[in-house]
Symmetry: C2
Subunit: 641 residues, 2 copies
Amino acid sequence: MGDYRVVFLPDNKEIKVPEGTTLLKSAQSLHIEIHSICGGKGTCRKCHVQVASEGFLKKGVRSSSDNLSPLTSIEKEHFSEEEIKESYRLACQVKVHGDVVIHIPESSRLHQHIILESGRKRDIKINPSINNYYIELTAPSLQDQRDDLRRLTDKLQEAYQLGGLTADYQLLKDLPVLSRNADWKMTAVVCADKQIRGIHPGEKRHSYGVAVDLGTTTIVAYLCELDSGDILSVKSSLNPQIKYGEDVISRINYCSQNNEGTLHLHESVIKVLNELLEELCAEAGIKLKEIYEMVLAGNTVMHHLFLNINPNYIGRSPFVPTVKKSLNIRALDLGLQINPGANIYLPPVLSGYIGADVIAVLLAEEPYLKEEMHLIIDMGTNAEVVLGNKDQLLTTSSPTGPAFEGANIKYGMRAAKGVINKLRLNPQTLEPELTIMGSDENILPQGIAGSGIIDAVAELRKAGFIDQSGRFNKKKESDRLVKDSNGHFQYVLAWAEETLIDKDIVIHQQDIRAVQLAKAAVYVGAQMLMKELGIDRADKIILAGAFGNFIDRENALVLGLFPDCPLEDISSVGNASGDGAKLALLNREKKQEADSISANIKHLEKSTETTFKDNFLRALAIPHADEPFPTIEHLLPENNK
Amino acid sequence: MGDYRVVFLPDNKEIKVPEGTTLLKSAQSLHIEIHSICGGKGTCRKCHVQVASEGFLKKGVRSSSDNLSPLTSIEKEHFSEEEIKESYRLACQVKVHGDVVIHIPESSRLHQHIILESGRKRDIKINPSINNYYIELTAPSLQDQRDDLRRLTDKLQEAYQLGGLTADYQLLKDLPVLSRNADWKMTAVVCADKQIRGIHPGEKRHSYGVAVDLGTTTIVAYLCELDSGDILSVKSSLNPQIKYGEDVISRINYCSQNNEGTLHLHESVIKVLNELLEELCAEAGIKLKEIYEMVLAGNTVMHHLFLNINPNYIGRSPFVPTVKKSLNIRALDLGLQINPGANIYLPPVLSGYIGADVIAVLLAEEPYLKEEMHLIIDMGTNAEVVLGNKDQLLTTSSPTGPAFEGANIKYGMRAAKGVINKLRLNPQTLEPELTIMGSDENILPQGIAGSGIIDAVAELRKAGFIDQSGRFNKKKESDRLVKDSNGHFQYVLAWAEETLIDKDIVIHQQDIRAVQLAKAAVYVGAQMLMKELGIDRADKIILAGAFGNFIDRENALVLGLFPDCPLEDISSVGNASGDGAKLALLNREKKQEADSISANIKHLEKSTETTFKDNFLRALAIPHADEPFPTIEHLLPENNK
């Protein structure tokens, strides 16, 4: 009985299988993926393979149809006479009774895809930079004096046609003892850069990587199984740099004002990342050393601080980063406690304001692959705006100020427990109905977040409490419309006794002004890009960023945050930056896409011309002084009289 | 007045010089080396240059002979009319009075050479892997938003045609602050692998590297100025691994018998290297961070231990190393406290017995470049024998045992203070005359080193105390020929009262036997290689290794350590391995030569055939049972009767 040898072409991979194994199973054991929706029942009939011409010799294996089980009735029914003559078979139907050489047509190949469920469902092609290869080496002898490394690279070349391989130094330390203890049966971990990064005894199916979304406020890390795309564990933490400043500007200031300031911020984030990595590995039951790749996306300042590069000059004119291009750095250099030879990939940054996080959002949304004109807005202290499709990409950054992050707003605060993140005015009573973040149903509000602020201004506008210019309408009668000690109007969202802070939570006239300045900056950014491309409307509007998940699309339109668009074409994608990092981790082609974006995207600076200022002034109106908003115009009071 | 611009072709390097500067001086300021033996006096007439055709435009500089001082009488006398028409000048004679473009013919170029004085004088071509490039960048502006790194690589491309450059991560950390503090005037340190390794403010002339000869017993480190080849400092230390075993076999045993044994040995050598590096830098007044390259040569076990690779399998059949090929590893990976991005280069090893130290000896002796057939013997516990010339190289290793290192010899010891390293028997009195190592003239001997043992056996043979078979001649009358308690003969080199150990220092019959076994192993190794090439005699015999400096060539021939050769063609080169490491540090082409040696050298294993055993038995005789030794036959007593 014994084992038979099956060689698959064009992969040129070989496996020994016991008598009676199907070709489908043989291929799967080699990680060659063949279409087989029915799971081998013979019903989907997708798993076409072809027996190599009679007598064809490959790797010492002579092809012969005689060494396979005869055609089944399913195959006879499915294939044409000609196909049968050309030795086509269904891989799930054929059993191996001897050595054979099999060709797998491209049409039968499956490039594995998975669905990523986070901000939105995404179809991901699995093609990681790190792959595992199982090999069995022959032991050295007096006749075969090749050194251990050469033995390894020769076999990888022979078995998998991996040429020009080099080895990471760290691997050499394991090589002599591990290979002998494993009786020369081992799995090599090989990176797309042709470097062998590690070896493991016996057969090791999985390799692991980590995607990190390094936000100014929050760090999220995802542990992924690279070969399947499965996310094994997710851990997050506040960015510990917060204690040196809440926003990027104050962190830059800390670095410029303190000797070793950059080093402190760098070390603090590395420390937390190492803690997250340990938690990820503990939860998944793997070793830190098994992590061979990390993809990290963050804005330009987070990117520089992660790298221990002083961000001082990003914060002052002419706002130039130290490095823009994508980087591959070894874990050892950064003090990350994963495999010391692991590669840390950082997507390129575009400018001081448009960081690797924006590239990651684009990798997730892929406007550059699509016909539809996409308007992508990543909201934060700066709003980064991208407009484009497969033909072109434009970007600009709009200095919105921190209003949407809750700063400069009387009762504004960051999204956290107890914050009002949604609200509406009851159409009948005009009383506010608040949605408060937190699991406790009886939780009392203590402030208002960016999405809540947008809702508040839009709801006040719809109800006629404020007019197009953003001013409170004195004539509107309501207990909630009150004056502060200086005689300025404000609207009470929650009375003191309903709040955690025992003070009325209000929207002040100045808050509305701050929101108007912020939203006008976003609007004119988008408008400038659209004008540059000569279009009136984007086919898709995509809102990414911190409060993207909570934002009310209709209210954003009422506010005039961006040009009019049917609601169904507006979507919120939340943390698309983290998704982009995961995509780059799971599919190496995304790294090329990132470089291509960076090489081809056109960066528009705001012009200082009069027309621009004029556009800005007109964009201060809610929703706009003169641009049409057909999608929401029926909601405005002046159209409802 | 101001400065004028001078562009040199084909380098395309530019410099601004004050009115009246000579072209020779201008070129030298750019580190362009021009033949000028007389130092610019106009007497050697080597410094030919050519003014580019009238009006030729390069880098915005228009060529014009009018901008140079007129022909001097020296030039008029030296050049032909045609050469004058073609605008040839002597660079030392011409003064600059305006912008000009100058072409330097290849024949005028000087590839700098230095003489290395150590084991022997060596002519070294200076062409290091690390070079410094001075550049002045334009500061970023709102119009020029290139990032700092791009700014740097663009300028290196523009000024020095260095394309495809990448940057070591470690450099990025310095880039933003250093470049601005230096007002964008800086020196980039660029490696031959196209990687920028470091930057320094302003103009930095020198770059530094370290060559290390990592011996089983001694570590010697040389700090070199890479651009001049000057050796700034030399430091040495005992190999701290000695406490885990004197020879490689006992260190291998330590590694196989102790958990973390390899790590201990590795860490001990790294620690001592870091101490040596600090001493080197302190003496030369430079910073550790300024060292950008290290070349390290050692035998295969030292090589593996330096790399923290378990050498266990080198010590047992089939004696296979973990890695043979040349390696380039970053200092950070090895914990060496020089620039973390510095490259540690290790020449290839050939086998478990023929290490990178042998390659280094070959790099120093360069038999592969020469017509003469070289026989190179690197003595140690194993003797590595290489035979060859530019057409071919053969090698074998001969297990001499530790006799030549003083072990297995009754009063043998390692070369150290108080050791007898040379001796002769006074031809008249037949009394021994000892040379003792150490500065103190009245020092008393305590043992005998390898070179002394060779002398002793050869001198005893010449004086007829022992015969061709190595046995003591009982009939020889001398107080010094005595019997031990078992009735075996021994010869007293020093009486107890003349020694530090208060015991007679003797050469015992068994010592002579051990020397015979060792020398026969070397002899038959050389003989096997010569037979393979079909030659009777080598044109040059080169003795390298620990006692190479002390060995008496004539006595080595009397002993029959290697086949006969005229004395003038035998040379001792001492620590040629250290020289080879220095050569590879100073001239990058040596690294290619090392790979080429490793690819082309033929490794002969001792055959187990009867003829080999027979050859060995015949080689036990002193000098040999039947091979002729015309060079020293007149010294043998049987020919002096």
